[in-house]
C-alpha cells in the first residue's frame, strides 16, 4: 500500500486548448492527486471537466505547463461505443492484457467483473449487440479489472442501473482503501457524497480547490444520509477495539465499545459503500472478530441503534456453542407455539 502523501499525478500550471489558436479550455491548473484519496471534479457542462480528466489520465498532454507522475491508470469515458468487433469477455480479456495481466488472469477477472455488475450472461455477446447499459458495464469492468493505481471516471455511473451503480460505488471505496486514487465527475451531486477528500471546481478556465466534499454535508454526510451500516463485533476477552481503515474513518466511520450494554462488543458505524471491505477485514483479521450483527441504518436518522429484525438487516448467526444451543431452544419454542 502506498503512503498517503505520495503523489500519483500532479499538474503544474497546466493548460489545454484545442488547435494552435483555439481558446484555452483550462489554464494555470495546479492539481495534485495523492494515493488513497477520492477526488471529485465539479463544474457546469462544457467547462472542461472531461479535458481535465483526460490530462490526469495522461491521454492528452497539456498545451502548456507540466504533468508529472505515471501511475498504472484506468479510464472510463463518458460514452463508451459498442462498435468493437469483440464479445464483451473478449474485449475485457484484451484490455486486461493491455493493463499488464496475463491472459488467464485477464479472462478470469473479466468474468468476475461482469458477474459483479450482473452482466455475466452477456460475456459471449458481441459488443455491437449490447444495450447502452451493458456496454457501460463493460467500460467500467475494463477499468476495474487490473486494480489500477489511478482510476479516472468520467460520468461512469451514467447509463448504469441502480444495482450496478452501487457496485461501482463500492468498487471505488475498495480502490481508495487499497491505496489507489480515484478521480471522478458525476452530474449527481449525491454521488459518493461525503466521501471525497478533495473537490476541484472548474470556473471559466481555472480550477479551484475546495476542501473535502465541497458540500455542507462534510465527512459525516456519508453516514447522515442514512446509508450507514452498523456492525456489532465481539473479540477475544480484553481485545483492543478494531482499527478502521483510514478512508473509512475519513468518511465518518466510528467505533464505540460496549454496544447494547454488553462488554467486549464493539459497534462500528460505517458508510454503506465500506461495509463489505470492513467486514472482510474483520473476518480475516488474526484473530478474527466474531460478527454479532449487521444492520442497515435508517434513513435520515444519523447513526441508528442496531435493531434486530430490521427488514433490511442481515443478521449474522451466533457461532458460539452456548448461543447455538440458545438458537436451538428458540426453534423448539417456536415449534411448541405452532403445535
Amino acid at each position: 500500500m502506498r503512503g498517503d502523501s505520495e503523489h500519483m499525478v500532479r499538474l503544474d500550471g497546466a493548460g489545454r486548448r484545442y488547435g494552435m489558436r483555439g481558446p484555452w479550455v483550462l489554464r494555470g491548473v495546479r492539481l495534485d492527486v495523492r494515493a488513497g484519496t477520492l477526488v471529485r471534479v465539479v463544474g457546469p457542462n462544457g467547462t472542461g471537466k472531461s479535458t481535465l480528466l483526460r490530462l490526469l489520465a495522461r491521454i492528452d498532454a497539456p498545451s502548456e505547463g507540466r504533468v508529472t507522475g505515471r501511475p498504472r491508470t484506468a479510464y472510463v469515458p463518458e460514452r463508451f461505443p459498442a462498435a468493437l468487433p469483440f464479445t464483451a469477455a473478449g474485449y475485457l480479456t484484451h484490455m486486461g492484457r493491455v493493463h499488464g495481466l496475463t491472459g488467464g488472469t485477464a479472462a478470469r477477472r473479466a468474468e468476475e467483473w461482469l458477474a459483479r455488475f450482473g452482466a455475466a450472461g452477456h460475456a459471449a455477446t458481441p459488443m455491437s449487440e449490447l444495450s447502452k447499459g451493458s456496454s457501460q458495464k463493460v467500460a467500467v469492468a475494463q477499468a476495474l479489472l487490473a486494480d489500477p493505481e489511478l482510476l479516472v471516471l468520467d460520468e461512469a455511473w451514467t447509463g448504469l442501473d441502480t444495482e450496478a451503480r452501487a457496485v461501482l460505488d463500492r468498487a471505488v471505496a475498495e480502490r481508495t482503501t487499497g491505496g489507489a486514487a480515484v478521480v471522478f465527475v458525476d452530474h449527481d451531486p449525491r454521488r459518493l457524497a461525503g466521501h471525497a477528500d478533495t473537490t476541484y471546481a472548474i470556473t471559466g478556465s481555472s480550477v479551484n480547490r475546495l476542501e473535502g466534499d465541497g458540500s455542507s454535508a462534510g465527512a459525516a454526510g456519508a453516514l447522515a444520509d442514512g446509508s450507514a451500516v452498523v456492525i456489532d463485533v465481539r473479540g477475544p476477552r480484553g481485545a483492543a477495539p478494531p482499527v478502521l481503515p483510514e478512508a473509512v474513518v475519513r468518511a465518518g466511520g466510528t467505533v464505540r465499545s460496549g454496544a447494547g450494554g454488553v462488554d467486549g462488543v464493539f459497534r462500528l458505524a460505517v458508510a454503506a459503500v465500506h461495509s463489505d471491505l470492513v467486514l472482510r477485514e474483520l473476518l480475516t483479521a488474526r484473530p478474527p472478530w466474531h460478527v454479532v450483527a449487521v444492520n442497515q441504518g435508517s434513513r435520515g436518522g444519523g447513526v441508528p441503534d442496531a435493531r434486530r429484525g430490521d427488514l433490511a438487516a442481515i443478521q449474522a448467526e451466533p457461532v458460539g456453542d452456548a448461543k447455538a444451543e440458545a438458537a436451538v431452544e428458540n426453534d423448539d419454542e417456536n415449534e411448541d407455539v405452532r403445535r
Binding site: 489520465a57 495522461r58 498532454a61 479510464y75 463518458e78 468493437l84 468487433p85 484484451h94 492484457r97 493491455v98
Partner: protein
C-alpha cells in the same frame, strides 16, 4: 507492447476492413503479373503496388478504434505506445501481404532476365523481391502515418494527401522506394540480382522518423 499488438491485430482482423486493400492488391497483381514473365520485373511491379496498400492499411489501423475505446487504451498503455501499436500492426499486416505476394510472384514467373536470355536464380531474386517489399511497406507506413490522425484529421484532406504522397514516394528521385524498384528493373535487364540494402536503410530511417513524429503529436492533438 505484445498485448497491444495482439489487441490491434485482433481488431484489424475482426473488423474485416483489411479485406478491401488486400483484395484490391490481389486484383492488381492478377492484372499485372502473369506466369512466364521475367521474375525481377514482376517483383518490382508487385513491390510498387504494395506502397499505397501499406499507407491505406495504416489509415485503417489508426482509425479502427472508436475514440472512447482509444481513450481507455491510451490511459492503460500510454497514448504513444497505443498509437505505435496501431502503426506496427499495419506494418506487420502489410509485410505479411508482401511476403505472400513474393512467394506467388517468384513461383509463377520465369527465372530469367527481361530478354529471357540470361538465367536469374529464383531464390536470390525472391530475396531481392522481399527487400523491395520491405522498402515499400516501410515507406507506405511512413506515408500513412503522416497523412492520418493525429496529423491530418479530416478525411477530406487526409485521403487525397495519402494518395498524392504515395505516388510521390514511388516516383520522386531520391526516394528509397524508387531506388529499390530501379535496382530491380535494371537487374532484370542485365540478368543480375540486386541487393537493395541502401534503399532498405533509407526506408527504415524514413519510417522511424514518420512514426516518431506521429507518436509524438498524438497526445497533443485531441
Amino acid at each position: 507492447m505484445t498485448a497491444l499488438l495482439r489487441y490491434q491485430s485482433a481488431l484489424l482482423l475482426r473488423s474485416q476492413r483489411w479485406l478491401a486493400p488486400a483484395v484490391l492488391y490481389a486484383a492488381f497483381l492478377a492484372v499485372g503479373v502473369q506466369s512466364g514473365q521475367p521474375v525481377l520485373d514482376s517483383l518490382a511491379y508487385a513491390a510498387a503496388a504494395l506502397l499505397p496498400v501499406a499507407a491505406w492499411l495504416v489509415r485503417i489501423c489508426v482509425t479502427n478504434e472508436p475514440p472512447a475505446a482509444r481513450g481507455c487504451t491510451a490511459a492503460a498503455a500510454g497514448p504513444r505506445r497505443a498509437h505505435l501499436a496501431c502503426l506496427l500492426t499495419a506494418l506487420l499486416a502489410v509485410t505479411l501481404l508482401g511476403v505472400a505476394a513474393v512467394a506467388v510472384v517468384a513461383g509463377i514467373s520465369d527465372a530469367a532476365s527481361t530478354d529471357h536470355r540470361t538465367a536469374v536464380a529464383r531464390g536470390p531474386a525472391a530475396g531481392a523481391g522481399l527487400l523491395a517489399m520491405l522498402v515499400s511497406a516501410l515507406l507506405g507506413t511512413a506515408v500513412g502515418a503522416l497523412t492520418t490522425w493525429p496529423l491530418l484529421r479530416s478525411p477530406g484532406r487526409a485521403v487525397p494527401a495519402l494518395l498524392l504522397a504515395a505516388v510521390l514516394a514511388l516516383v520522386t528521385a531520391g526516394s528509397p522506394a524508387r531506388a529499390a524498384l530501379t535496382e530491380l528493373i535494371d537487374g532484370s535487364r542485365d540478368g543480375v540480382v540486386p541487393v537493395p540494402l541502401g534503399a532498405v536503410a533509407g526506408a527504415v530511417a524514413a519510417a522511424a522518423l514518420a512514426v516518431a513524429v506521429s507518436c509524438g503529436v498524438c497526445s497533443r492533438r485531441g
